[in-house]
Amino acid sequence: MVEWYASTLAHYVLVAIAIGGLMLLTYRGLLALGVRREAATGFAFTLPWVLGFLIWNLVPVITSLYLSLTDYDILQPPKWVGLANYQQLFTADGEFWPAFRITIAYALLTVPLGLLGSIAAATLLNQGVRGVGLWRTLYYLPAILPAFITALLWRLLLLPTRSGLVNSVTQPIWSQFAEKPPGWFLDKDMVLWGFVLMSFWGIFGANTVIVLAGLKNIPRDLYEAAGVDGAGTWSRFRHITLPQLSPTIFYLLVMGTIAAVQIFDQPQFVRLPAGAPQFLNVFLFNQAFAFSHMGYASAIAWVMLVVILLLTLLIFRSSSAWVYYDAEVRDK
């Protein structure tokens, strides 16, 4: 016990000293090479990140690309197989496409729904209601729970029987259509909705706080000018609030999408019914750590990387059409 702490602490301190030493060495070395003092200092300060980037980002990314082209089970050295992993993934693996579809569907549902919910809540909070601080605290509360507790809690709320809280509250609705209550995490076709619901609950409050900050930043006089012009509530929302809020929406969209595609913690706490598709990251994790298919798992990881790049690129590309920045407004 104590030895575990002591040894980690010793490594930690050693590495910290080593980083400090390297910073000093970089500074001295650059000066000796005739680099300006300011440049040498600046570079030395950023060294921890540069080192981290090389050790924990660049080298792993390249290694991962290499491993994705090999067959590797840790025990034997990697064996080059070319594109065979990708070929199997796309054409032969019956689990990949369902995983891909549910992951994308999850992102396409949670991110816009979460945004709509938080824009609605923030707009209501911005109507001059009393106790904004209190409401904000209340809304933010779910966001302080870790994702996995949220998952555990929603598994309980979505118990597939009549006594599950959600099912019992919504009984008047579902009993119109069915004898039996919704099965949620027991029904492989409803699993996705269970995850969407839990994520919506977990994220919408935090997003509301961010959107509210964006709303408060909109200059009052814009609304007053619009009021003089006789603009109605909807047209004010459409032509002032939304454009002014678009940088915030853009930020939430990018961050939310990147996070949603990588969902991992929540499904670790939910037992899925047989035949239900897994999320991409869970599929990858099992390939790597349950079956030791390190090469195959690396190929999945690269698919993940490309998916995230494409989605981010798509949002960035589209942003020139709908994101307004203050500078443009000022220019007019």
Binding site: A39, T46, G52, L141, S163, G164, I210, T233
Partner: protein, 300 residues
């Protein structure tokens, strides 16, 4: 259109009476909507606490009851003793503390470097740093795991805390840099004239000036590390005394409380216990919490 279908429409030159009803309706809708949203946020939270206080036979009653009767406080004791959670708590605190200190200290150094000194490739490096936010953690996971395995340090706390020293949070660097940029240079120049070196300037002049931001980032960092589940899942496996609390909860969920007999009252008791430190921090430093999450969006 009638007034009822356009409740928010309020012409500037309006009759007083009409304006009054419009305003009242608007408030009504606002409070109604907010209450609905508030219940949606709060009820699951209360359900967690309520379930943690129920006896076993109250778990699945219909209709569900929010207030347990009798109240089973000993759920907390029983859940706590079902696994060595005391040891796990210590582990969690140890890991969270070291990771937090490491990531904040290194982020401050790097941010200061990016904010105050001109050097070649600075902007390239900065953009590169921001773009790592898009890099999925799972891509670097397998090679990083192999590195730790090579070092013989899998199944120790090292992989959870040592990488923090390399400024692993691009967001924190970005935020601190923004705030360093906002500090006037004259403050530093006075210190430099007095013979302080750049590290001393950072420590004695800059950091105290941005203390509120530092606190906000510290709160986020604590939350992030305390709630970290992935790294322990990958790097810690046995004995169970090595687990952090999130991993312990998952173990409990997957074994002792598996599908046939989920002990929801115990799991919710553990969840509540795990939420308490963050909850306390949240109420102590609410302003910082809210600021912290707003910072990224507004400044970005």
């Amino acid at each position: 259109m009638t007034e009822a279908t356009r409740p928010f429409d309020r012409p500037i030159v309006a009759r007083t009476r009409r304006r009054w009803t419009g305003d009242a309706l608007r408030k009504l809708i606002a409070y109604g909507g907010l209450t609905f949203g508030g219940l949606f946020a709060l009820v699951p939270f209360l359900w967690m606490i309520s379930t943690s206080l129920k006896t076993k036979d109250q778990l699945f009653v219909f209709p569900p009851r929010l207030i347990p009767n009798p109240i089973a406080l000993d759920n907390y004791v029983n859940a706590w003793e079902a696994l060595p959670f005391g040891t796990m708590l210590l582990n969690s605190l140890f890991v969270t503390g070291l990771a937090m200190v490491g990531e904040l200290a290194s982020a401050a150094l790097v941010a200061y470097g990016f904010a105050r000194f001109r050097f070649r490739f600075r902007n390239t490096l900065f953009v590169l740093m921001l773009s790592t936010m898009m890099l999925p953690w799972i891509v670097t996971l397998i090679p990083s795991f192999l590195i730790w395995k090579q070092l013989g340090l899998v199944n120790t706390f090292d992989p959870l805390v040592v990488p923090a020293l390399f400024a692993w949070g691009p967001m924190y660097i970005f935020l601190m840099r923004q705030f360093f940029l906002g500090v006037s240079r004259e403050v530093e120049e006075a210190a430099i004239v007095d013979g302080a070196n750049p590290v001393q300037v950072l420590w004695y002049v800059m950091l105290p000036l941005v203390k509120p931001v530092l606190l906000a980032i510290g709160v986020l960092s604590f939350q992030g590390n305390w709630n970290n589940f992935r790294l322990p899942l990958i790097y810690l496996y046995n004995p169970i005394e090595r687990f952090t609390m999130p991993l312990g909860l998952q173990f409990f969920q997957a074994t002792l409380s598996a599908a046939e007999a989920p002990r929801w009252h115990y799991m919710m008791a553990m969840s509540t216990i795990m939420a308490v430190p963050i909850l306390v921090l949240f109420f102590l430093a609410q302003k910082q919490f809210i600021e912290g999450i707003q910072l990224g969006s507004v400044k970005g």
